[in-house]
Amino acid sequence: MNTKWSRILAVALALTLLVAFVPGCAKKTTDEGTGGGTEEPKTTVKAAMVTDVGGLGDKSFNDLSYEGLKRAEKELGVEIKVLESKEITDYESNIDQLANAGYSPIFAVGFLMTDTVAKLAPQYPDTQFGGVDEFFDPVPANVVGLTFKEHEGSYLAGVVAGLATKEKALSDKINDANVIGFVGGMDVPLIKKFEAGFIAGAKSVNPDVKVISLYAGNFTDQAKGKELGYSLIEQGADVIYAAAGAVGLGTIEACKEKGALFIGVDADQYLTVPGSGDVMLTSMMKRVDVAVFETIKAAVDGNFPGGTIKEFGLKEGGVDLAPFHDFENKVPQSIKDAVAKARQGIIDGTIQVPDKL
């Protein structure tokens, strides 16, 4: 009898634990999804997005797109919905289901969905599609490609890095070598844009600077990112810019361990990567949220830019540098002035930033 009761108790305990654990992680999404007040003028637009396999919580593209969606819910009163993808196979069925359920515009996040959007768009001519980071040729009439001038933001990051590597007062991590580093994810044209802008920016303020670029071959392998970080630091790099997704998280670790400064990418990584403050000089932000919000706003106003590729640059607020945060007081005015000057030059068009090497 005794053992029987202890067994029942054990099962009950296990169940309680199970039940107690799950709500914490599960509940959040819908609260956010349905929470926002909608006293604003009502519209019948139902906007939705499909995440790539990274899913929500990636602190990058998917989360940023969702921010844009939530802002549209709050400010424009649109109904929103997010479908997360676990497998590549989910892309088509998720987009298909949203289109069938009357959502429009539907945002597909990430260039891996380009083909899927191109295939489904003609089947749903009355639905509007937005492809984040997707480039179409030709562009279907009901699709807008949302791309970014990453090279422009990276140019500013390059200006900061090119000057910072000579600024010994900035941090004890700055060495004598005039070397900075770049870590890329995959060796694809998109990432080359980052690299090209970064190098051009650095050379514009420090013509003799040596920029070493290394590629991880993917966007996920953090161990590889750390390894590449070590390698760059050993070769004398003291400021490293990573455009490599999660790979960059490993590079941040390398910077913390071996002593180098880091420039983040996509989001303001000072805010999204806990404990990175002592190496995070700034970040090159891709304002996916701005692009998504502006596109929904255009759809609500009835002028959805279908059939075009929109490029969001510095001028449109699509890319920008994040604040210096912990380094705000250490970064000399000369660097801030140089960034301001470069920014103005790009916006005026007096500085033409190359988008390939």
């Binding site: 169940l15 997010v82 479908l83 997360e84 359920a101 260039f111 694809v188």
Partner: protein, 375 residues
């Protein structure tokens, strides 16, 4: 305790049936039960969620097609892992063999464009099998010759395979354009969708044939499931495979070459995993790119576990996983249940089926005790 003793003789056949086939069903039901409690506690409508899961996986011909689509690669990887398991080999690297199979199919599909389907389709499938088997051959040889554990070697080979594909799609085999992927394979090398085989009139008359994305690969998978079952049950090859799995020392004594059996077993396992890559390339993506598999090789381990390493059991097990995967989108859309909940229910199913062998062991122990006491 006395009733256990009395009930023992007539309980036995019933017990075996429950253990063989019933237990996974019970596990699924219990998992759904626990899943409902979790959803209820988290504030979701469990009824609506399961209704959505059903609707998204079996509720319409199109949904059923999606389930078939997702079950197809899992059937192959499940068979691959199960076949290895039967010889006592844990082929954890099915994912790598899948990548090589997919790569072979993607390459041949472009190279053989223009061949008639009757030649192109078998050529691609055979090529993928050869590539998967070749990829399993080195770990198999290492295991057979020097005893290097296949869990380590096949896993390491998975990384190599993924990086090879990753390099090829960025470099030598990259199609023109922004996206790192290969060129599309020839139309004749593609596995057609099931619905495309019928005329519009037939589809009008028999709407259940409108299976959306479901493609012919499922029939290839079913064919191989039956074939593997027949091989295991009726051939010398299969007998040796099972014998080595039960007891390698006894098999050696009985004149079976254990090293040769290990090599054959892992290579067949690799060939089956290679087919999983081939059907994904030929039936779904029509090209290969960096992330074309969503861990089907690893899910295959779970499929084999649920199927209890029985080739025919792999069919319903893969369909179950396919259905859960197909329904998760609808669950998010219509019941506002996050995709993570579906994953929790999947994990519960695997956990309960794994735990079921513990229960079985416990029952057997009790039976032995009762028998001993009866004597």
């Amino acid at each position: 305790m006395s009733e256990t003793h009395e009930a023992l003789p007539e309980q036995k056949p019933w017990m075996t049936l429950v253990q063989r086939a019933g237990a996974p069903v019970v596990s699924v039901l219990v998992a759904i039960g626990i899943g409902s409690v979790i959803m209820w506690v988290s504030g979701y409508d469990a009824m609506a969620a399961f209704a959505a899961l059903f609707k998204g996986s079996l509720g319409s011909p199109k949904a059923l097609g999606d389930t078939l689509l997702r079950a197809t690669p899992l059937m192959f990887t499940g068979l691959a892992v199960a076949y290895g398991f039967r010889a006592g080999l844990f082929n954890i690297g099915a994912e790598g063999q899948l990548f090589m199979g997919g790569l072979a199919a993607a390459y041949l599909g472009v190279a053989l464009a223009g061949w008639p389907p009757a030649l192109a389709l078998p050529a691609l499938l055979l090529g993928a099998m050869a590539a998967g088997a070749a990829w399993a051959f080195v770990p198999a040889l290492l295991k057979a010759r020097i005893g290097a554990h296949e869990v380590i070697t096949t896993m390491m080979f998975t990384y190599i395979a993924k990086y090879i594909v990753s390099w090829l799609v960025v470099g030598p085999l990259k199609a023109p354009g922004q996206i790192p992927q290969t060129n599309m394979i020839g139309v004749s090398a593609q596995l057609p969708r099931i619905q495309s085989l019928f005329s519009d009139a037939t589809l009008e008359a028999l709407p259940f044939l409108r299976l959306g994305r479901g493609h012919m690969g499922i029939f290839v998978a079913l064919f191989f499931a039956v074939a593997v079952w027949l091989v295991l049950k009726y051939t010398t090859l299969g007998y040796e495979n099972r014998a080595v799995g039960y007891n390698p020392w006894a098999s050696e004594n009985a004149g079976i070459s254990v090293p040769a059996t290990i090599i054959k077993s892992l290579c067949i396992s690799g060939a089956l995993a290679g087919l999983a890559g081939a059907v994904e390339v030929m039936g779904v993506h029509h090209r290969i790119f960096d992330q074309f598999s969503s861990g089907f090789g690893f899910t295959g381990i779970a499929v084999a576990l649920v199927a209890k390493n029985h080739p025919l059991g792999v069919i319903p097990a893969a369909l179950l996983f396919g259905a859960m995967s197909a329904g998760s989108g609808t669950m998010q859309l219509e019941a506002d249940v996050p995709q993570k909940i579906v994953l929790i229910i999947q994990a519960l199913v695997i956990f309960l089926i794994a735990a079921e062998s513990v229960v079985q062991w416990f029952i057997q122990k009790r039976q032995k005790e009762a028998l001993a006491r009866a004597r």
